[in-house]
């Protein structure tokens, strides 16, 4: 069914947007939700979009610099997400950017949409490898519509060396364990974020993207 909805994936020079775009196209095709996917760095297109996705790989500082370098994009995101309540999904560093602050190759100020601090993973078992790379289990700690049809213990694909230490427990909706608890998903109002890569998490990941596409916060 055709839809007038547009999913904007923000292109700010970070990582593999093709995978994210293709995964959304697959999710749309399988669910028949009919939305259109645009990969864009145009603030106007972000304002017009009905749902917004912020991907991101690499270092926090590089991603923040890349995003800030696009004239008007942060304002457009605030406008669409905070003022007009458009459903928003941050992926990996795209989720970490929502934090108040981060420490990775220097101190950084984040978007401050989710109260918390991004810092290096320090597993309590020193033999654990960094990056935390591979398939780990997702455990839901707060109820959220994004989990519909997903079971506790579902495997999703992680690759990261930093994690988001959340300030308010209610903002953390899922965790995983890697030498201690790690924030795997955040959720507040119309904002969700995943530390893992749904676009690389096979069927479970596509399912989660489908839930995001139909989510009415």
């Amino acid at each position: 069914m055709p839809s007038s909805e547009t999913i904007a994936i923000i292109d700010y020079g970070s990582g593999n947007l093709r995978s994210a775009a293709k995964a959304f196209e697959r999710a749309i095709r399988e669910s028949g939700s009919g939305q259109r996917v645009v990969v864009t760095n145009d603030p106007d297109q972000v304002r017009r979009a009905t749902r917004i996705v912020l991907p991101g790989v690499g270092a926090f500082g590089d991603c923040l610099a890349g995003l800030s370098a696009i004239d008007g994009i942060v304002e457009a995101l605030r406008d669409a997400v905070l003022d007009r309540g458009r459903p928003f999904l941050g992926i990996c560093v795209g989720m970490q950017l929502l934090a108040s602050s981060a420490q990775e190759y220097g101190d950084h100020t984040g978007l401050d949409w989710i109260a918390g601090h991004v810092e290096l993973l320090r597993p309590d078992d020193p033999s654990l490898k960094i990056p935390h790379m591979g398939w780990n289990t997702l455990h839901m700690v707060n109820q959220h519509p994004i989990f519909e049809g997903l079971e506790d213990g579902e495997h999703v694909y992680f690759v990261h060396s930093n994690h988001l230490e959340i300030q308010y427990p209610q903002d953390r909706i899922a965790i995983t364990n890697y030498g201690g608890e790690i924030t795997a998903m955040v959720g507040r109002d119309n904002i969700v974020g995943t530390q893992f890569h749904p676009e690389k998490s096979q069927a479970a990941g596509i399912h989660l993207l489908q839930n995001f596409l139909t989510w009415k916060p």
């Binding site: 990582g15 593999n16 790989v57 490898k129 960094i130 990056p131």
Partner: protein, 252 residues
């Protein structure tokens, strides 16, 4: 809990799979996308393409293969073989590869790894090391194991991680193709020396070899080609065998 990974590797030449699964139900066994889809369904944890295209005229074919695979398979994809410049890496990542593995170029110019990690992030830079036991130490060999470099593999791995490699793909060159198992002392020496995950490769002939790579070699992942391609074992058999041996696996 984080699971150990099984990574099948496909050799690709001029855009076609030359060493891959040869099942009767495949319409076109040389089609990398069809092979990738098969492994995706079979529960592989990641997929690796090794581009062995010799002619520089045909080196562009791999980008098309990666792009088509990324449209169909939503699992992590590593591409290696002939990665020599930042532009090679950029093109592979843009085509849809998640990680890029650097082999000879890292030996010839270690600084290339530093530049690549700074530019694209450590999470997508895999350094691929081919090594053999020489006396009681481990030495890096190039050109398919024929050329000794005099470089100590453990020292080199440590140095590469210092430069920003996010993962090490370690091939036991003295075991490659032998089916007698990984060089476990080598695998353990490198795994224990670096803070990043190590993928063990080379010499796998049985499912017990996969187990040993993790339990005795201390690797985080195992890469194999022949045992899966020739249908000796399925991914599911391998995973269940490893799980039964006490290794946490992702079983769907």
């Amino acid at each position: 809990m984080l699971k150990a990974r099984i990574i099948p590797c496909l050799d690709v030449e001029n855009g076609r799979v030359v060493k891959g699964v040869n099942f009767l139900d495949l319409v076109d066994a040389g089609d990398p996308v069809e092979q990738a889809r098969l492994y995706d369904k079979a529960g592989a944890d990641e997929l690796c393409f090794l581009d062995i295209t010799a002619s520089s005229d045909n080196r562009e074919t791999i980008f098309d293969v990666v792009a088509k695979t990324a449209e169909e398979c939503f699992m992590p994809l590593t591409v290696g073989g002939g990665v020599r410049s930042l532009n090679d890496i950029r093109k592979l990542l843009l085509a849809g590869s998640d990680k890029v593995s650097i082999n000879t170029a890292a030996v010839n110019d270690p600084d290339f790894v530093r530049e690549a990690a700074q530019k694209f992030g450590t999470q997508c830079i895999v350094v691929s090391i081919d090594a053999k036991s020489v006396g009681d130490r481990f030495e890096i060999f190039t050109h398919g194991g024929r050329t000794a470099t005099g470089i100590d593999a453990v020292e080199f791995a440590r140095r590469m991680v210092g430069y920003g490699a996010g993962e090490i793909l370690l091939t036991s060159m003295d075991r490659d193709g032998t089916k007698i198992g990984f060089n476990l002392p080598l695998t353990r020496a490198v795994s224990d020396a670096v803070s990043v995950p190590v993928i063990a490769s080379g010499g796998v002939g049985t499912l017990d070899h996969l187990v040993e790579g993790i339990t005795e070699g201390h690797a985080s992942a195992v890469l194999a080609a022949s045992i899966f391609h020739f249908g000796t074992y399925t991914i599911a058999q391998a995973k269940h065998h490893m799980q039964a041996a006490g290794i946490p696996m992702r079983l769907e």
